[in-house]
């Protein structure tokens, strides 16, 4: 090395000094780099989320719409024993009524006004209410507040009008946006946006007034603030002086690609499938018939095309014949999520079918009594399905064990005393409806009222 460092000469020896410096010149950078290589970076990941806790519900709210005709009975059931509070919406004053319920039993109260039903603590899990009655019969499962719902086959004419009811079970105001789809697509109406519903009250929107249209429509209700239970009452004015027939339109929770609608009723009349395409591309929908034996597409049933945002109304001519042959429902397979509904104006009454929801394990409903049959959709696996019907006092009036199988449907006649029916299966999910007979017809879907609620985990933020 030809280091010419002059100083140090004569003090410690040039070579010794040079070699130390040279060694350090290599050693220090290497040591620095090595030390830094061992540095591990601070963990700045956001802490993983914590799953919610599940616990028995401590409060459940459902809201029943205004009584139609004389269907002013509210039937209430719960898993527990206790008092369920029933309060007429829009009436702040006055003590709310209490309806005693027992496990398996059904309580009833007569209240023509829209009713806010609250179960706390023991009676919150499994709280279920149904408004039913009238002649011809009408029935509706009172909905719990939800944020998004679809309704199909609404009318905006004098002779067929639909009234939307928004019920707010809470103290604070709630706000909903209604979107109407028609044959021509989405209708933007400022009158239906930002609808505010004061606390514990109801707001009605008569479509014939707000949005007169000749063709059938579909409705999307989105609750943007607060909680609301939405329902749609459908009224068909009979020609002449006859009384109008009324029923409620059941809701579809969300558009789906494959939907099953159960509860076809026999008789003469029109059966109209109403399809709404909420997407932005045209879709094609294949309609098939579900019977106790199989699911099939009858010859000549073409694929239905639905334009984006539009509603397509298809009166299915051959359906009456299929019902006579034992068709219990329809299955729709769409190329993209679709909103569907079936309107049956049969034997002087009107009733609506909406896609059934599949529930794990069990599903049930309460019914006003009288002739009724249970229609079950296909299970997702193989196994036994048990149908239990009980009278209003909780006494069992029917127990039937059956196997439904996939892509099939089953039908069970219910005793007239039956006030509630429960279906339990170990073959996957349950879908089904109860078709009420007697004078007219009405269809009540089987539901699975919430028993347990999810409580979000809560912690202080890492600040």
């Amino acid at each position: 090395m030809t280091d010419s460092t002059p100083q140090g000469a004569g003090h410690r020896g040039v070579t010794g000094r040079i070699s130390t410096v040279a060694v350090l010149a290599v050693l220090l950078p290497v040591l620095t780099a090595t030390t830094l290589a061992l540095v591990r970076p601070a963990d700045t990941d956001v802490p993983a989320g914590i799953a919610p806790q599940t616990q028995a519900l401590t409060r459940a709210d459902v809201a029943c719409p205004t009584a139609l005709d004389d269907a002013d009975q509210v039937l209430v059931a719960s898993n527990g024993r206790g008092q369920v509070t029933v309060r007429a919406a829009g009436q702040d004053s006055g003590e709310p009524a209490s309806v005693p319920v027992t496990p398996g039993g059904v309580g009833a109260v007569e209240l023509p006004e829209p009713a806010l039903i609250t179960g706390r603590d023991a009676v919150a899990p499994g709280l279920l209410a149904v408004r039913a009655g009238g002649s011809p019969v009408a029935a509706f499962v009172c909905p719990a507040p939800t944020t998004e719902q679809w309704f199909s086959a609404l009318g905006g004419r004098f002779e067929h009008s639909s009234v939307i009811e928004l019920l707010n079970p809470d103290q604070g105001a709630a706000v909903a946006d209604l979107s109407i789809h028609t044959r021509d697509g989405l209708v933007r109406s400022s009158a239906l946006r930002g609808l505010s519903v004061p606390g514990r009250s109801v707001r009605r929107i008569d479509l014939a007034e707000e949005l007169p249209r000749a063709s059938l429509m579909s409705l999307e209700v989105i609750v943007s603030r607060g909680r609301l239970s939405a329902s749609v009452a459908d009224e068909v004015g009979q020609v002449g002086n006859a009384r109008p027939v009324l029923d409620w339109i059941p809701a579809q929770a969300e558009p789906a690609q494959e939907v099953t609608m159960l509860g076809l009723v026999p008789g003469d009349g029109t059966r109209t499938v109403v399809l709404t395409n909420p997407g932005e591309d045209e879709i094609s929908v294949q309609v098939e018939v579900v019977s106790e034996r199989s699911t099939f597409a009858p010859t000549g049933w073409e694929e239905i095309r639905v334009a984006p945002g539009a509603v397509t109304v298809i009166p299915i001519a051959g359906l009456a014949q299929q019902v006579r042959k034992g068709a219990l429902g329809l299955q729709l397979t769409s190329s993209a999520p679709v909103v569907a509904g079936l309107r049956q104006e049969v034997s002087g009454d009107v009733s609506h079918l909406a896609p059934t929801t599949a529930y794990d394990g069990t599903a049930r409903t309460v019914l006003p009594g009288g002739p009724a049959r249970l229609v079950l959709g296909g299970t997702s696996g193989s196994g036994e399905t048990v149908v239990t019907a009980r009278a209003a006092n909780g006494q069992r009036v029917l127990r039937r064990q059956l196997t439904v199988g996939t892509a099939k449907a089953a039908e069970v006649a219910l005793p007239e005393r039956a006030a509630s029916v429960q279906v339990r299966t170990d073959a996957g999910a349950v879908t089904g409806v109860v078709v009420l007979g007697g004078t007219g017809h009405a269809v009540l879907p089987l539901v699975q009222p919430a028993e347990r609620g999810e409580v979000p985990a809560l912690r202080p933020a890492l600040r």
């Binding site: 460092t5 100083q7 830094l36 700045t44 979000p456 202080p460 933020a461």
Partner: protein
């Protein structure tokens, strides 16, 4: 007839020359009398031996000048009516024609009764001392001359003045006797001004005759005369003289001043004297301060004598005060002096460690034995001398006397730095005025909030907390205070001015480092390069873009601290001590912003001390070597005591190393630390890597290898610190984090830049001289050029950042307004959803503003509040709303996008009313129960006050200790 009166007092040193001067007068003196006041040296003998002197009068030692004059005259009654008295001091030597010129002037101007010569410095003979004197409103003796001004005939006109010095004063005997001679109250100093003033009031004219020259040694003023008391300590003598001078000034002003303004003047002088004394104490000149106060007490303590003196003057006065006023100094003069003093002080402060390299070389030369050389030296002394001549040619050539614009445009370095500043101004344009974003929370409404945060012991944050505020809060308070109370302005200034401050600091540091490494120092363009590269580190590292204001501030402070710390190797112990205090102050400032700075400094100190022991340094045994280094660490510790002591005492030790700003802290791995990449906003072309590679290359030139190795040693210590810190987990209130390594990355970049500049000092000159191959030079030059040019271009154009004028707090405006009403109007902000869980924060006042996130982070979450909110989102009962109100919670906000499932539960909560939000995806509820702030009430604690007082005292003491010594200013 002229009678010369020579007053002597231990003036044997000058007397022979004075006697020669008197006898050599071209106009002979008619008679010469001498009065000696108690000389103990050969003065009396000399006087007696002189044939010139008619009579020598020996007066006792205590005789004052005025008495001596009076006695001298009394011995020799007036010989003729037109007799002139020429007063001569034993340290004032007249030129041969002095008396002739004075008398000539007296003939030319018969109205003149008092005449004075031009006084020049003795023994330099060329410098002007006085051409007549006056007095300013604060008692300062004004000569109207610059200090050390050379006599080039620039003042050679006969002027009417207030007074002339008694040394060489030619005065009509009649006037002198009529006015009663000089005032006995002024034994030593200031009697000339007083006499002149009295003469002027009595209608006599005083003129200065520049043709007549006298050389004056100013023996008394310069404390050159042997003390009166033989065994008096020189310091005591100095104090006595300072006392006499100041007393004379006060006396003269109060005895002669205009009666109407006397009360005002008295108050002004009183307050002024106290201020002066405080100022003197602040620069550690205790003696003069004491003299100042003694003089004040002496004059003001005896109003009777002053009254008598004023009455006597009134009786003699024939001319109104206003006629004398033009002869006094203008009113603004004291302020100009004050400004000059302040300028001198600040330049002394900034230049404190400037010449450490030169002083070390000088000290080494003085030692001259070549024993232990400091590690920075790498050249022989012979080379030193040779090169310093070269240097004076290259660097210190006097700048051509052009305007600054021309100088700017013709100097590439100045031009480059100007471009740098302009580009930085453009790049930071968005944050002028207000800034927030990333790790930088919004600034509070005003510095008052910061002050409260710093002074209060219990903060109404979250559910109330006793975590002490971060240490930088008082610094920002001060900065904001200087900006008129604007906290936003303070943050904006911090984020913008950090660049020029870092640039200036780096320039100074690199210049000294260059000089320490080689006597020639680094060429200016290399300094410019290094300063620019370093000053851009906040930008290129991404710290600025991510709003890491603490790193930005620490980057700006680091070179100043390093510069101050270089003073620790100064050969002068006094300067070492001052460097220690100064470094301690800067280290405290730095630790306030970057808490890991203190452990790094401690480790560095330890390593240096160990090395010194290993290398067998004997200097460590001197307390003045070890002491300042320890003082640095200790000072920082004491100055930050209101921060760390409560932090430890209350179990929040995680806060000791917590990086300021919003969490999460910057996460750096080893490569990031080495290459200075602090966030994802770092420059994409890895400028830090280039600098580190250059720093490795800096080890190649042999001549500067040793100082570059010192830089690498610092780098290694920094790396070890980084490794140690990366093993620590800091417990926080609601979790844990790690110490930020961002500051260490900045240190490494800084050290690398210093290494490159040191290596470049020698190499660059070789390059310029052509002794380095051109290709090597071109590669090195390109590598150097690319970093600042690319960085600047990138920073001004495409660099992204998270900063914005104001941060979005995600809260409706009306809630912000409501929460400003008081701490009880708190807002709980819930984030998350049902599936992932919710996290909550409590927002009070104007939200988490600068200084508060650290407190909140360290605060143990309130378990009761967590339970309460858990109830709220699962099973709201009326009691929950009441509990929220009791905790001072007015609103519950479910931030966007609000989970409907969670909102649904809150919608059912009793006594919780829905509140409006502009953003429809957000939900909010208002607690309708009456709010209470009982749980948040701050209790004032005396411990906090005591700690703050301790800090304040420590700050004043440290500032005094690190101020430049006044003696050196003289």
């Amino acid at each position: 007839m002229v009678t010369a009166l020579l007053v002597t007092h231990r003036g044997a040193r000058w007397l022979p020359a004075v006697l020669d001067g008197l006898s050599a007068q071209s106009r002979p003196i008619d008679r010469v009398l001498a009065v000696d006041t108690g000389s103990t040296d050969e003065t009396l003998t000399m006087l007696a031996a002189s044939p010139l002197i008619e009579q020598v009068l020996a007066a006792p030692d205590s005789t004052s000048f005025s008495v001596a004059v009076r006695q001298g005259l009394a011995e020799h009654p007036c010989a003729e009516p037109d007799e002139w008295i020429w007063l001569v001091h034993d340290d004032a030597n007249p030129a041969a024609d002095a008396l002739a010129c004075l008398l000539e002037a007296a003939d030319e101007d018969p109205t003149a009764d008092v005449l004075g010569p031009k006084l020049r410095e003795w023994p330099s003979l060329r410098r002007l001392l006085e051409l007549g004197v006056t007095i300013s409103g604060t008692g300062h003796r004004e000569t109207g001359l610059e200090h050390g001004e050379y006599d080039q005939g620039q003042h050679d006109t006969v002027r009417h003045v207030l007074a002339v010095n008694t040394a060489g004063m030619l005065v009509r005997r009649s006037v002198l006797e009529k006015l009663g001679g000089f005032d006995d109250e002024l034994p030593l100093f200031g009697n000339d001004v007083d006499f002149g003033w009295r003469a002027a009031r009595a209608g006599h004219r005083t003129i200065v005759v520049p043709r007549a020259v006298m050389f004056h040694a100013e023996a008394a003023h310069r404390r050159q005369r042997p003390s009166t008391l033989a065994d008096e300590h020189p310091r005591a003598a100095e104090r006595r003289a300072a006392f006499a001078e100041r007393r004379a000034a006060l006396w003269t002003l109060l005895a002669n001043g205009d009666g109407r303004w006397l009360p005002v003047q008295a108050v002004r002088l009183f307050l002024g004297s106290i201020l002066r004394a405080i100022g003197l104490l602040l620069v550690r000149d205790v003696r003069t301060a004491r003299a100042e106060m003694s003089a004040l007490a002496s004059v003001y303590g005896n109003p009777g004598r002053l009254r008598r003196a004023r009455r006597a003057r009134q009786e003699q006065a024939t001319v109104p005060s206003r006629d004398v006023r033009p002869l006094l100094a203008p009113w603004w003069l004291p302020y100009r002096h004050g400004l000059d003093a302040a300028t001198d002080f600040f330049s002394a402060v900034t230049l404190q460690a400037q010449d450490v390299a030169e002083r070390r070389r000088a000290a080494n030369l003085a030692a001259d034995l070549g024993e232990e050389r400091p590690p920075h030296r790498s050249d022989s002394r012979a080379e030193d001398r040779g090169r310093s001549e070269v240097r004076s040619d290259e660097e210190s050539a006097p700048a051509p006397d052009n305007g600054w614009v021309v100088q700017l445009l013709t100097s590439p370095v100045a031009l480059g730095l100007s471009v740098f500043l302009v580009v930085v101004a453009i790049a930071t344009r968005d944050v002028w005025g207000a800034v927030a974003g990333g790790a930088l929370p919004p600034a509070p409404a005003g510095v008052g909030d910061w002050w409260r945060l710093w002074t209060e012991d219990w903060h109404p944050l979250e559910s109330g907390t006793n975590v002490p505020a971060p240490a930088y809060v008082p610094v920002l308070t001060l900065l904001g205070g200087l900006l008129g109370g604007s906290a936003q302005g303070a943050m904006s200034v911090l984020m913008v001015f950090a660049f020029p401050i870092a640039l200036g600091g780096a320039w100074r540091l690199l210049r000294v480092a260059g000089h320490l490494a080689t006597p020639l120092g680094a060429p200016r363009w290399l300094l410019g390069w290094g300063a620019m590269v370093y000053a851009l580190v906040p930008a290129t590292s991404g710290a600025w873009g991510e709003g890491r204001y603490s790193v930005v501030a620490a980057t700006a402070l680091l070179p100043w601290l390093a510069h101050a710390a270089l003073g620790l190797v100064d050969p002068n112990p006094d300067r070492r001590w001052r460097a220690g205090w100064r470094s301690g102050l800067l280290l405290a400032l730095m630790t306030a912003f970057a808490p890991v700075a203190w452990p790094l400094a401690a480790l560095l100190t330890l390593v240096v001390l160990l090395l010194a022991i290993v290398l067998g340094g004997s200097s460590l045994r001197q307390w003045s070597v070890l002491g300042p280094a320890l003082a640095t660490l200790g000072t920082a510790g004491v100055l930050l005591v209101p921060w760390w002591l409560p932090m430890i005492a209350r179990g929040h030790w995680g806060g000791l190393l917590l990086e300021p700003g919003l969490l999460p802290v910057a996460s750096l791995d080893g490569v990031d630390v080495l290459t200075g990449r602090i966030s994802e906003y770092a420059a994409p072309f890895w400028p830090g890597l280039v600098v580190v590679v250059l720093a490795m290359a800096a080890l190649i030139p042999a001549s500067t290898r040793l100082p570059v190795l010192v830089c690498w040693l610092i780098g290694l210590v920094t790396a070890v610190t980084a490794l140690a810190l990366s093993l620590i987990t800091l417990p926080l209130g609601g979790g844990a984090t790690r110490p930020s390594l961002a500051f260490l990355a900045v240190v490494l970049q800084g050290v690398a830049v210093v290494a490159v500049v040191i290596a470049g000092t020698a190499s660059a000159r070789d390059l310029v001289r052509g002794s380095v191959p051109r290709v090597t030079g071109a590669v090195a030059g390109l590598a150097l050029l690319v970093v600042p040019v690319l960085s600047l271009g990138w920073f001004a154009t495409i660099a992204e950042n998270e900063l914005a004028p104001t941060g979005d707090q995600g809260i409706p405006a009306y809630m912000e307004q409501s929460s400003d009403l008081g701490p009880a109007h708190g807002i709980v902000v819930l984030e998350g959803d049902l599936d992932q869980g919710l996290v909550y924060t409590v927002r009070r006042g104007d939200g988490p503003t600068v200084g508060e996130p650290e407190i909140i982070a360290l605060t143990e979450p309130d378990a009761a509040l967590t339970d309460m909110l858990g109830d709220l989102v699962s099973r709201p009962r009326p009691a929950v709303a009441q509990a929220l109100a009791d905790h001072g919670i007015e609103y519950v906000v479910l931030s966007s996008p609000a989970d409907p499932a969670v909102a649904a539960v809150l919608d059912t909560a009793p006594d919780l009313a829905q509140a409006g939000t502009e953003d429809r995806t957000m939900r909010a509820w208002q607690v309708t129960r009456p709010l209470s702030e009982a749980n948040l009430a701050a209790s004032n604690s005396w411990t906090r006050t005591a700690l703050l007082i301790l800090q304040g005292i420590a700050l004043v003491v440290v500032l005094v200790l690190c101020a430049p010594s006044r003696k050196e200013q003289r």
